[in-house]
């Protein structure tokens, strides 16, 4: 099961040379080439914003802002990092700013079992492992996953979204978040274990089947 993580789905990144040429074109005044430059990243940027903000309209606005900023600031893009790394960093910053402004969500939610320096102790739920595979195709499951991600503290939500939702590798995730790979791996471990626990809790609380006109217990 070691390499069981699904591979990145989607159009894939443009070849680096093509990307460099498109950037040159935009900077030389052929602005419309910017659409092609960002095309492979529209979904990823939106998903990142969505996972952080949890509101579709906000995520769309933030994604638009991020692309606009990238367009305006394209001249300051340094070629030593990948264009997508730079772009996702802008998107994460935009989403964070929006979250701060919103003030609904505490900056760092205290989370039971969370101890920054110590180990995270996962809940012991030996009977749980069959649930997600049988539920895999259900729309309900998708909603539960989404709600569970939303419950993660912000820094864990960010790392999980970049690595496990968008499919960035560890190195690029670290670069986007401005942290070391060691730190990213530690955060990712915690994020994954927390997500599993949150999801398990939510799944257990849910009635297995919705019944029309069901009487409240």
């Amino acid at each position: 099961m070691g390499n069981g993580l699904p591979a990145m789905v989607g159009p894939g990144a443009l070849k680096k040379e093509k990307e460099a040429r498109l950037i040159e074109d935009v900077l030389a005044g052929r602005h419309e080439q910017f659409h092609e430059l960002i095309a492979p990243y529209r979904r990823g940027v939106y998903l990142t914003a969505y996972d952080i903000l949890q509101v579709a309209a906000d995520a769309e606005e933030v994604a638009q802002e991020a692309f606009l900023k990238a367009f305006r600031a394209l001249r300051s893009f340094r070629r030593e990092s990948q264009f997508s790394t730079w772009l996702f960093r802008i998107a994460i910053n935009e989403a964070r700013m929006r979250l701060r402004r919103r003030r609904e969500v505490p900056l760092e939610t205290a989370f039971p079992g969370e101890d920054e320096d110590g180990d995270y102790t996962p809940l012991m739920l030996a009977d749980w492992r069959e649930i997600p595979s049988e539920a895999l195709l259900r729309e309900e499951t998708r909603r539960l996953v989404q709600e569970s991600i939303a419950q993660l503290p912000e820094k864990y939500r960010e790392v999980l979204t970049l690595r496990d939702v968008v499919g960035k590798n560890i190195a690029e995730t670290s670069e986007i978040l401005g942290t070391t790979t060691g730190n990213t791996k530690a955060r990712l471990l915690r994020a994954r274990l927390m997500l599993r626990d949150i999801f398990a809790e939510r799944t257990r609380r849910k009635p297995r089947q919705k019944q029309p006109g069901r009487v409240a217990p």
Binding site: G2, H31, Y46, Y50, L189, F199
Partner: protein, 82 residues
């Protein structure tokens, strides 16, 4: 070296990434074969990551690309990269 449960939890994420030495992998697999808690933990964490990855297929909002293009074109008409 025999790994205890806490070691397994610490290495679980790296194990799922395939980012682990052969020796530690063998230790983990030997432990998991004996310990149903760790086996369940490994399976369920793997399952949740499969579900999370499924999110990548989430549809963009209808008209997202058109609205993005329009907004960018408005900007492009005014000025270019600074």
């Amino acid at each position: 070296m025999k790994l205890d449960c806490k070691h397994i939890w610490r290495e679980l994420s790296n194990y799922l990434e395939g980012d682990i030495s052969d020796e530690v992998r063998r230790e983990i697999e030997a432990h998991v074969a004996q310990c149903r808690h760790c086996a369940a933990l490994l399976d369920s964490t793997h399952n949740i990551l499969v579900l999370v990855a499924d999110e990548r297929r989430m549809e963009l909002p209808v008209g997202f690309n058109t609205r993005l293009r329009q907004r960018l074109e408005k900007e492009m008409a005014i000025s270019g990269p600074q």
